[in-house]
């Protein structure tokens, strides 16, 4: 047989300058091990909690060497939101945009779903945010965004 094909999720939602697009980094790993300052993004490592982080490799590379590492590349869908993202954020969660200064990340509930939000991570527009959602919730959340952005036109 041929190798099992990869079913990569692709979608792009855009209205009036506000867009939600799926990002496709090379790999993601959950890491339990070295700590980093709370709510920071350091070298692609997003803080999740004490001694826990989500490491994102934008390009192919080896898994983190330190700590307990689980490959979750297929576990998350990353949505890059640009344009009037504060308005879109305000429709879905209580987190104040001010809490998302550049280089910061925060876990919160968005539209009833547990997500990780990150401001200005490497590789996306400095005026946008990146939202990490578990893959099973992505289709529902994209439907939610399709409905929400229509108010931002």
């Amino acid at each position: 047989m041929t190798d099992l094909a990869r079913d990569a999720m692709t979608d792009r939602i855009g209205t009036g300058g506000t867009t939600v697009a799926i990002a496709t980094p090379a790999a993601l790993w959950l890491v339990s091990g070295p700590d980093q300052p709370a709510n920071t993004i350091q070298d692609g490592s997003y803080w999740l909690g004490p001694n826990r982080s989500l490491v994102v490799a934008e390009t192919p590379g080896p898994a983190p060497a330190a700590g307990f590492v689980s490959d979750v590349t297929d576990g998350y869908v990353l949505l890059d939101i640009t344009g009037d993202w504060p308005a879109l954020l305000a429709m879905g969660c209580t987190l104040a945009p001010a809490a998302l200064a550049a280089g910061r990340c925060a876990q919160t509930m968005f539209a009833g779903i547990h997500v990780l939000l990150a401001a200005n991570p490497i590789g996306i527009s400095p005026t946008g945010i990146r939202l990490f959602v578990e893959r099973p919730h992505a289709a529902w959340l994209l439907d939610w965004f399709r409905a929400a952005v229509s108010s931002l036109a």
Binding site: T2, R6, L30, S32, G33, T94, G112, R135, W140, S150
Partner: protein, 975 residues
């Protein structure tokens, strides 16, 4: 009543056609539905809730108790539209409520003739026997408000969250001054006002601010609030802990597809409450007749909408505020008579008299008349009510004083104090982070309101270490008003005086409640319904409690107030739901092969937050038929199940085995790498919380498979025990459920099908026996195969990264085609596991089920180390021999499937008693008959006995068996 040729802030170049009870009428852009009805001479807009008395407009805004209508426009419908809050739109179709055939000619108005027989509490006392429900339907038909249509609500609603330095509630002079000062200090400001236009009372009261007309000052101020969030048509309906607020924003002109209502959830560091005050009615005989209106509302209709409410107006007041209405009406051409309840005329009254207005001191109204509206009013000296004088009138404009809008202050926990000079409840003190400005603190002049608002804004700024960059706005100081003379009711016997217009509560009702010892104002409210419904007593509360005070011989402060609760105005369920309706009602998880399932005809249902195939329907097949076919195929050939939702938690660390051994009921320290063990996880109470297979991937690495709906809970439990009890143990946990797709291939042909799979994993029985697991590649991608079964058949679970799941699903279907592979869903799986007597957590177990009840006793006997829940398993209750135990049941009639929840009944001494119930039942295709599982008292000792089953009045019989109905030796696992 008529529309004046000039005046108001309506756009006369933009007419708006609408209908009232089917009659074509016209209004203008800028009208409310209420102002347009008034301009068209519509006097009767509603019928009262109980007596069906004709009712007209009393107020002009959210305080309005009467003018609730049925409203349809653009295919949308509001069964209880509050006409004073509705921006008139072209094409609106409005009609009256609670009347037949119309509010103008209501047959049910006859009820009013029997009012003596239906006082407060009549329902409670009369409709008791045989049951209230016997009467409820008819009473509800004759009373109440609008009726929902059965069509969907097509309006769009949204939710907004915001965080701000200061929320200013109310954009009257005080609110605007506060917002202006805070904004000038560089603070983030949200300004919310429930009207479409800014200015609050400045919209209808005259004034000069900073040497220019108030309207110009308002416009300049709003223009200067650059960057602030300005929310017109937005009512702050609730104040919650820590300065959290709920706001309802109405957007009637929103473009198609946009939300017409939004609920804002605002968290404010500070809030300035500049909510103003609400004019109280006067309580006197006939005060509910259409044409009796709030004096302030008469002024608003005149100045905002250019509508003259009446030509012959009698203005009745006990305070100075109504005199501005008198002067404005005269300027508009009306004839005015003023009845002032105060014994002596004050300065303002004397000035009115000097202008030629008839002003009668010490005079109160004692009756009104007119069949379909007001024709006359009788007035009399307050100290000689028999000396009546009849005055022709088409409007009686009344002012009983002002009740500060303290609702938000009180909702936030603020206390009130009675101020005798104001004859009103005022805030005792502001709550932390709360600032009060303007009429909420009592009667204030324009200059005082501006000063208080500016002060509030600067105080807020100072808490941020900032100073406001603007000078306070100025207005001419006003002369002190003459004191109000409270007039809570007119002591005229045998005539009804309305306190609560919306709920038809009269002075007599309050007197009756007091006689029946409903002395608490909260009891009075429930007994009479005073202050209930959608106006929440905005106009009636103070008059009601003043009457209760009088009838119980107490002072008003002794009576107190009812509790102020959100919402301040009605908020539709749609607005509260926001986007959470239809397919966005609740977040749902999709499987990696979701599209394939749909393509395969799956009937998708929600199971534990996942959208999963219940079954796969073939053409002409019913759901029960599909379930039976799928279950039979899995037994006879092979079935393919999407098990991707099954939890996957990786546990790693030097202490992983020891830690899991402390958590799980079963022994895990002895589990060898590459092997699986079925385990129970207990709460501290010993109750079974979850079950699942634990795999040991390496000496220091495990993979847990919690139930689909328990994954988050199990992860939380692991973390909680690690962080609170065993922090020193070297162990960590990762939920990787979402990263993997898992498919179970089950049945006698499973091995043959898998033999054709390109995999590096040796799936021979020697290398991969039952309850073993191995890693390798599957179809060129990393994967894992576990030999584990929830069907009782030889089964393999294949896992690959989620993005390759759909491809593997299709590939397995192709591989299995020649061996009759059949897709099966959750319902068939439930049949298969029921045949085997396997439990389903939450279905066969509940919050009382212990492992011993399930017959799983070996770990308790043999496990050497402590574990969560162990102590609870040793208590006398846990070891009772008569505990309910998990058993199988075979119905006496093999064609009859007893309902889940059917009770097993035991009869002793002529009394029937439940000894347990059925937890699972189905028709077994393998056995060709009905089977069941259940929890029965001392069930294992009763095996072989017959029990009576009872469900919804029907009885049947069943024989108790061991739980496993099929292949008890487990031979099929190895076939």
């Amino acid at each position: 009543m008529k529309r004046l040729p000039t005046g108001g802030r309506i756009d006369r170049a933009a007419p708006r056609a609408f209908t009232w009870d089917g009659k074509a009428l016209g209004g203008f852009k800028g009208d409310t539905l209420a102002s347009a009805l008034l301009a068209n001479g519509i006097r009767i807009i509603g019928r009262s809730f109980k007596y069906h008395r004709p009712r007209g407009l009393y107020g002009a805004w959210s305080e309005e108790p009467n003018a609730i209508v049925d409203l349809a426009w653009k295919g949308e419908h509001d069964p209880n539209a509050r006409s004073t809050l509705v921006d008139l739109q072209a094409g609106m179709a409005a009609s009256g409520l609670n009347a037949w055939p119309s509010v103008a000619h209501d047959v049910y108005g006859l009820i009013d003739r029997f009012h003596r027989f239906i006082p407060a509490g009549f329902y409670y006392k009369t409709f008791k026997s045989p049951r209230w429900e016997t009467f409820e339907g008819r009473i509800r038909q004759m009373a109440g408000l609008g009726t929902l249509r059965r069509s969907d609500d097509r309006r769009r609603y949204e939710t907004r969250h915001a965080e701000t330095d200061v929320l200013v509630v109310g954009a009257g002079p005080a609110g605007l001054a506060a917002a202006r000062a805070a904004h000038a200090a560089g603070l983030r400001v949200i300004l919310a006002d429930d009207r479409a236009a800014w200015g609050g009372s400045l919209l209808w009261r005259e004034g000069v601010i900073d040497d220019r007309a108030a309207a110009d000052w308002v416009a300049d101020t709003i223009a200067g609030l650059d960057g602030a969030t300005l929310l017109p048509r937005t009512t702050v309906f609730g104040a919650y802990d820590h300065n959290a607020f709920g706001l309802l924003e109405r957007r009637p002109s929103a473009a198609d597809g946009w939300a017409t209502e939004r609920v804002w959830q605002v968290r404010a560091r500070h809030v300035v409450l500049a909510t103003g005050a609400i004019e109280r009615p006067l309580v006197f005989p006939g005060n509910d007749r259409p044409g009796v209106m709030s004096a302030a509302a008469v002024l608003q209709y005149l100045r905002e909408y250019g509508v003259l409410a009446g030509n012959r107006v009698v203005l009745v007041t006990n305070n100075d505020s109504a005199y501005e209405t008198a002067h404005a009406l005269i300027a508009a051409g009306a004839r005015i008579t003023i009845a002032d309840a105060r014994p002596e005329l004050g300065a303002i009254a004397r000035r009115a008299a000097d202008h030629g207005i008839q002003v009668r001191a010490n005079t109160v109204p004692v009756n009104t008349g007119g069949r379909h509206g007001l024709r006359w009013v009788d007035v009399a000296p307050r100290d000689n009510l028999a000396a009546r004088e009849r005055i022709p009138a088409d409007v009686v404009a009344i002012s009983g004083g002002w009740s500060p809008a303290v609702h938000l202050h009180s909702q936030a926990g603020g206390k009130l104090r009675w101020d005798a000079a104001e004859a009103a409840f005022l805030p005792e003190a502001a709550r932390p982070g709360q600032h009060l400005a303007g009429a909420i603190t009592g009667g204030t002049s324009l200059a005082e309101a501006l000063e208080a608002g500016h002060h509030a804004g600067t105080v807020v700024a100072s808490t941020f270490g900032r100073a406001s960059a603007v000078l306070p706005p100025r207005a001419e100081p006003a002369a002190a008003p003459s004191p109000i003379a409270p007039l809570w009711f007119v002591p005229v016997p045998d005539q009804r005086q309305w306190i609560d217009f919306q709920n038809d509560v009269t002075l007599k009702d309050v007197a009756l409640a007091a006689r029946e010892n409903y002395a608490s104002v909260e009891h009075l409210k429930r007994y009479t319904t005073l202050g209930m419904a959608n106006d929440q007593g905005k106009t009636s509360n103070v008059n009601g409690l003043a009457a209760l005070a009088a009838f119980t011989g107490r002072e008003i402060p002794e009576v107190g107030t009812t509790t102020f609760r959100p919402p301040f105005v009605p908020v539709s369920l749609g607005a509260l739901a926001g986007m959470r309706h239809g397919r966005l009602y609740a977040p749902i998880r999709h499987l990696p092969s979701h599209a394939d399932h749909l393509g395969n005809g799956a009937e998708m249902r929600e199971y534990g937050g996942w959208l999963r195939p219940a079954c796969y329907l073939r053409v002409g097949e019913t759901v029960p038929q599909a379930i039976q076919r799928e279950a039979a195929s899995a037994r006879q050939a092979a079935g393919l199940l999407d098990g991707s939702s099954l939890g996957k938690i990786e546990v790693q660390g030097a202490d992983a085995a020891a830690f899991l051994n402390l958590l799980y009921y079963n022994e895990l320290a002895t589990l060898k790498p590459g092997r699986l063990r079925y385990c129970l996880l207990l709460r501290e109470t010993g109750v079974v919380y979850d079950d699942g297979v634990v795999a040991r991937l390496a000496p220091d690495r495990f993979l847990l498979s919690p139930s689909s709906s328990h994954t988050a809970g199990v992860l939380a439990m692991l973390r909680a025990w690690h962080q609170t009890e065993y922090p020193a143990m070297q162990v960590a946990f990762h939920d990787i459920t979402a990263a993997w797709a898992t498919y179970a291939i089950s049945g006698p042909n499973a091995r043959a099908i898998l033999g054709r799979l390109a995999t590096s994993i040796d799936i021979s029985d020697a290398a991969l026996p039952h309850m073993a697991i191995a890693d390798g590649s599957i179809g060129g991608v990393p994967g894992r195969i576990a030999r584990v079964s929830f069907t009782g058949e030889r089964s393999y679970e294949l896992s690959v990264p989620a993005s390759h799941g759909a491809a593997l699903w299709r590939h397995l279907l192709d591989l299995g085609a020649r061996d009759g592979i059949t897709l099966f869903g959750i319902e068939a799986l439930s049949v298969l596991r029921a045949e085997k007597g396997f439990i389903l957590i939450g279905t066969d177990t509940d919050g009382m089920t212990l492992p011993v009840d399930l017959g799983v006793t070996a770990p308790l006997r043999n496990k050497k180390v402590d574990f969560v829940g162990k102590r609870s398993l040793l208590t006398p209750d846990a070891t009772r021999p008569d505990r309910r135990q998990f058993v199988g049941l075979l119905p006496a009639d093999p064609r009859f499937v007893p309902a889940v929840g059917s009770h097993a009944i035991e009869t002793a001494d002529g009394k029937r008693r439940s000894i347990g119930w059925i937890t699972t039942s189905c028709r077994s295709p393998a056995l060709g008959r009905s089977i069941a599982l259940g929890m029965i008292e001392a069930g294992r000792a009763r095996i072989g006995e017959t029990v009576e089953l009872f469900h919804l009045g029907q009885t049947s019989r069943a024989t108790i068996t061991a739980p496993c109905h099929l292949d008890p030796a487990g031979e099929r696992l190895h076939d």
